[in-house]
């Protein structure tokens, strides 16, 4: 027989008053209230003992700092605890399904991490002699070959550091190609269903940006596009599959029309996960496309490495690819083609995107992912990602409005609108309700072509049981929003922080910590 000394029995109900009562510390058992690091530390303390700096002549010419630098001092333990406590308030792909649309928040296989941490990769120095890093160069080269094969493209630039950086690389290659033929074109067309970074990239490259409307089916309006093409159009930037989660069926016709008008086609490859192993973008007439290694090839935001956005280029753009380029000679030796070694083959390169060679840690992870899946496995990735998204779309379309649900299956992400929610209830309320249910919200209010958009991308790595639980949770929240459940307006109720005032945060942001009422007193009796 066991004795329950606390006297508490499972059937004793905990009253609402107890749940609402405050604790002396503000902590709620394992949910710990954590102050800012500035509020914990004190400037009079430090975690390390440093010797007094030796006297040296001051050559700052009167520009030396006159006030304390204002960094908080903490012991090592305080520092470790602070960040560990904060990390417990995070949501992450390793905690649960992360339905953020267009982000491809898939599981990051631990095999990737094991490979990336091998000392031969992890301890590389970018200036090491090439003869000493042949293995690493082989990884970059082999990954590049895989990307060219999977996309059916002629060349690849490995160095861009993330998706938008890849877009910039692609547009710079397009601009270089146009300039090389003495063709001054000034406009880039961007469909409404494209990624939000596309117009920003085009503007950053100095182009004027013009919208191309979407059809009622959520796809590029081919007629409107054809009507706008002309001698001033440099390129069209298309996202395929697009941000409505739909495949641009007219892609080949669009590309043919764009090429006939003397322009080039950029494809945003952020959604490549839906078609990898099934469709080769090169066959669709695309001239440049970035690949988010950190989406399609795992390691998403907060689930692995940093971003990495290699760009594949068509025959037309290949000569303009940026340096460096990894090449393999007839003896099987790998070489870095850089400024001083670029021969006639690369004489038209448009320069460099980064100082060194790109995100080596991501190259090893992506290649580990590709080799462990194989070509057949990558094909199944796309098939299962699309299947999972359609399962969500069809499981929820009776309770949430699916604006393009009637046009056929979706690709990798399911899109819903706020139509049918009770008066005064919005997509934001649904998103906040999901937080209480233990999920990170979906992408919301994007794409703009759908009112109150909710964009959900489950990826292929979620099991049916995980999808069913998510569907149940979102169904429950959606039903409450349709019924006008006022409690939902106050959600989240159970998160470390309640609903934040996003308007005040945007209008009057506090970006710098300021001490209120002078320096904190040193804590007494430590």
């Amino acid at each position: 027989m066991t004795i329950n000394q606390s006297g508490w029995k499972p059937e004793i109900a905990v009253s609402g008053a107890v749940l609402a009562s405050p604790t002396a510390t503000g902590n709620r058992a394992l949910m710990l209230e954590e102050p800012l690091i500035f509020e914990i530390g004190g400037m009079e303390r430090t975690g390390v003992d440093l010797a007094e700096a030796p006297a040296a002549p001051n050559r700052l010419g009167g520009m030396e700092r006159a006030t304390p630098i204002g960094l908080p001092g903490l012991s090592e333990q305080e520092t470790v605890r602070h960040y560990t406590r904060l990390s417990r308030q995070n949501y992450a792909i390793d905690l649960g399904l992360f339905p953020l649309g267009s982000c491809t928040m898939k599981h990051n296989p631990r095999l990737n991490e094991k490979v990336a941490r091998m000392p031969g990769f992890a301890d590389l120095h970018p200036l090491a002699p090439q003869s000493a890093v042949q293995g690493a160069l082989a990884v970059v080269h082999e990954l590049g070959e895989w990307l060219k094969t999977l996309t059916g493209m002629a060349a690849v630039a490995m160095s861009p550091k993330a998706g938008a950086h890849g877009e910039l690389c692609g547009l710079l290659a397009i601009r270089a190609a146009l300039e090389a033929r003495g063709d001054a074109r000034s406009v880039i067309l961007v469909p409404e269903s494209a990624h939000g970074t596309n117009p920003a990239t085009a503007a950053f490259c100095g182009y004027a940006v013009e919208d191309i409307p979407a059809t009622l089916e959520g796809r590029v309006d081919l007629a409107a596009l054809e009507a706008r093409l002309g001698p001033d159009v440099a390129a069209v930037m298309i996202t395929n599959p697009n941000t409505c989660g739909l495949f641009e069926r007219d892609m080949k016709r669009i590309a043919d029309a764009v090429h006939a008008a003397g322009a080039l086609v950029y494809c945003d490859g952020a959604n490549f996960n839906a078609i990898v192993g099934r469709v080769r973008p090169g066959d669709l007439g695309i001239d440049a496309m970035h690949i988010n290694l950190h989406k399609t090839f795992s390691t998403p935001h907060g689930g692995g490495g940093p971003g990495s956005g290699p760009v594949v280029l068509s025959e037309a753009l290949a000569p303009f690819a940026p340096l460096p380029i990894v090449e393999k000679d007839a003896d099987g030796v790998f070489h870095l083609v850089e400024e001083e070694t670029a021969g006639a083959d690369h004489g038209q390169n448009f320069g460099r995107m980064v100082a060194f060679h790109g995100q080596m840690g991501m190259f090893t992870r992506a290649l580990a992912y590709i080799l462990s899946h194989g070509a057949d496995g990558l094909r199944q990735v796309a098939e299962d990602a699309v299947l999972n998204a359609n399962y969500i779309l069809r499981s929820l379309e009776d309770v949430l409005d699916a604006p393009f649900g009637g046009t056929g299956p979706c690709m990798h992400e399911a899109l819903f609108s706020d139509k049918g929610l009770a008066e005064g209830f919005s997509t934001l309320d649904v998103a906040k309700g999901l937080i209480d249910e233990g999920y990170h919200p979906m992408t919301m209010y994007f794409p703009l072509v759908v009112h109150g958009a909710m964009l959900i991308e489950p990826t292929e790595t979620e099991s049916k049981a995980a999808l069913d639980q998510f569907i149940m949770a979102l169904r429950s929240v959606a039903e409450r929003a349709k019924a006008g459940d006022e409690a939902l307006k106050g959600a989240p109720w159970f998160a470390p922080r309640r609903r934040l005032d996003e308007t005040l945060a945007a209008r009057k942001p506090k970006l710098v910590w300021e001490e209120v009422g002078g320096l904190a007193e040193p804590a007494a009796a430590e």
């Binding site: 209010y445 994007f446 703009l448 996003e502 308007t503 945007a506 209008r507």
Partner: protein, 123 residues
């Protein structure tokens, strides 16, 4: 004084050759809480349909187009410190900028209040 509307949810008040431009109450409601307004510089000239201003809410950033061609003679400085004016009074105090019209005939292609109300109902 007469008021005109565009399909992109701008309103225009015309008095003589001066046009005052803002976004409609419908537009501010769709955008949600406005947090930032970027206004054109005095003296800037626009053709009808050019990007003239940017309005940013907690949900999205949107371009505001010049509903008619003209030269900017004044921007509403009050919006820089208090973008919330667009939410509280979109069609009066929350105006964006004033243009000196270059072609008054462009007004003919815009909607009147009744036509705009009907247009919004259909959205």
């Amino acid at each position: 004084m007469s008021r005109y509307f565009t399909e992109d949810h701008e309103w225009v008040d015309v008095e003589g050759e001066i046009a005052t431009v803002g976004i409609t109450d419908y537009a501010q409601e769709q955008l949600g809480d406005i947090v930032f307004v970027e206004l054109p510089a005095e003296g800037a000239t626009f053709d009808k349909g050019d990007d003239a201003a940017v309005v940013e809410s907690v949900k999205a950033a949107s371009d505001v187009y010049a509903p008619v061609s003209g030269e900017v003679i004044e921007a509403n400085a009050a919006l820089e410190g208090e973008p919330a004016l667009v939410n509280s009074d979109a069609e009066e105090d929350g105006w964006f900028f004033k243009l000196r019209l270059t072609d008054a005939s462009e007004l003919e292609s815009l909607m009147d209040e009744a036509a705009y109300a009907k247009y919004v109902d259909g959205l």
